[in-house]
Assembly symmetry: C2
Homo-oligomer: 300 residues x 2
């Protein structure tokens, strides 16, 4: 497993069969900035789908050094069409991951999940978030897409996150099912799900990872806390992946890592035929770069 995000960038640059990133509705400064970062940082090529005239105008005004550097597929101003064409480029093998441009997340996901022309694999799609502590990179899910995962959905969240961990070089990540406590409590449904999923992993029904739960955050990430509580677990204190019980827990936690702990973060949507990056307009250039690297490493 990569130890930090500098190693993520290195992993991305060294990837041999690197896929092109397609930007859906690229006629916005933020999206073109992502394409410029991908080029400048030697991450991958970008294919821009959208309003060609508008895209070229933004490049000329804001990123003139990149005039003529990007391949553009003109779909006019229609955002829905841009999303559909971007999805099509994945099917055609022209690109291996999708970046959100001017279209909002819901519109892009609609094209991605289209039953006939979309990229669904039948799996639940979920957002896998990564953060860089001074010691390691940890994955957290799902603070963005699945609201209140049931047992089956939690297993999908695990599979999607495990796939990311594998791509990041960890063949057997330790997965902690988070709760507020480390004991099974019939009044706390997520502790029951955690016990069940742990057993499924022991029985070989979920593979490619070692799962344990319920665990409180301190038991999951801090070996001293796990020892004080006397928790006998292959995961406690060493979790690589944290599965939150609900979207609020994951979302608030993720934001606390950004705003309070000041950690570097990245995230990627998994569960479709190609990773999807839904970084927001407000994201800093560094976040965009790290999301791109994560998406590229997880594609193909």
């Amino acid at each position: 497993m990569i130890k930090n995000f500098d190693e993520l960038l290195q992993l991305c640059r060294q990837k041999t069969d690197k896929k092109t990133a397609v930007i859906a509705a690229a006629q916005t400064e933020s999206a073109i900035e992502a394409a410029v970062i991908a080029a400048a940082e030697n991450l991958t090529k970008c294919l821009l789908v959208g309003d060609k005239a508008a895209i070229e105008a933004i490049i000329a005004e804001k990123f003139s050094a990149y005039n003529g550097c990007f391949e553009i597929i003109d779909t006019g101003a229609d955002l829905q069409k841009a999303c559909a064409v971007a999805v099509q480029t994945i099917h055609e093998g022209k690109a291996g991951l999708i970046l959100k441009g001017k279209a909002d997340t819901a519109l892009l996901l609609k094209a991605v999940l289209d039953k006939e022309k979309g990229l669904s694999t039948g799996e639940v799609i979920s957002d896998v978030f990564a953060y860089e502590t001074p010691e390691k990179v940890v994955l957290l899910t799902d603070g963005g897409i699945v609201l209140y995962p049931d047992l089956k959905e939690k297993i999908s969240l695990i599979k999607n996150a495990v796939k990311v961990a594998h791509s990041l070089g960890n063949p057997n990540p330790k997965v902690a099912l988070l709760s507020a406590v480390e004991v099974v409590n019939p009044k706390m449904p997520c502790t029951l799900d955690a016990a069940i999923i742990t057993k499924m992993n022991q029985r070989g029904q979920i593979t490619g990872c070692v799962i344990d739960g319920p665990l409180a955050l301190d038991n999951a990430i801090d070996i001293e806390s796990a020892k004080i509580k006397g928790i006998d677990s292959p995961v406690a204190g060493h979790a690589d992946i944290l599965i939150a019980p609900n979207i609020e827990a994951a979302n608030i936690f993720a934001k606390s890592l950004t705003y309070y702990a000041k950690y570097r973060v990245a995230h990627v949507v998994m569960g479709t035929k190609a990773p999807i990056l839904i970084a927001s307009r407000a994201d800093a250039a560094e976040v965009k770069m790290l999301c791109l690297a994560m998406g590229i490493v997880c594609s193909g």
Copy 2:
């Protein structure tokens, strides 16, 4: 409102009608350490209830400078009796807050909530957590007691936290009802509760604070994030109190502040006739000191 925990300690030391803290089942090193901190830091007097011989033995062995310094009520080795007697000292006016000693939290709360002899006010009891950012002290609830608060319970959580904010010198705290998003979404029940509670506050049904929600954490605490989202709110960007939608969200968030952001924290249980401190054995001396100061400031 106090700006940091040094001001909390100052507020505590300057309090004129300071209450004594009673320790329920004090025959454990961790509890006596709290009493020693209270004395050494000039916070308040402690009354030790429990196994007198065992208490004196611990003092003699570990804190010999404090031999004979504490008043002790002997209840023998019976933990339940120690909790009941500690509660009784509150009724008798001998003490104004309770510290957990050797008895576990459940046993102490059983005595506190006893219908005949307890300290119930009819209000829901909840844990109010405080953390110190570089800019301010923020309150968060409830990561410890109420599992999945319904609308009515959330109002109790707010009242308990607002009482703490008032004691900390903020007469009109800004309360944010946290969710993963800042929009009302019928599929996310906590966003509906947030909208309803906001309206109740506007109608004067919940007083002593300004409430707004739903808000995501970034919108609640970071004014730039609130501006980017175009949120028009008296609370956004300036929240003093954060109400989490469920115990997992609050608990994971609180632990992330301790383990990742490395913030100083404290917490106190409110909703009874006297504040209750349930700091754990594993808590560092500084956490115990800050919890004591918070409990003393919030008592009487």
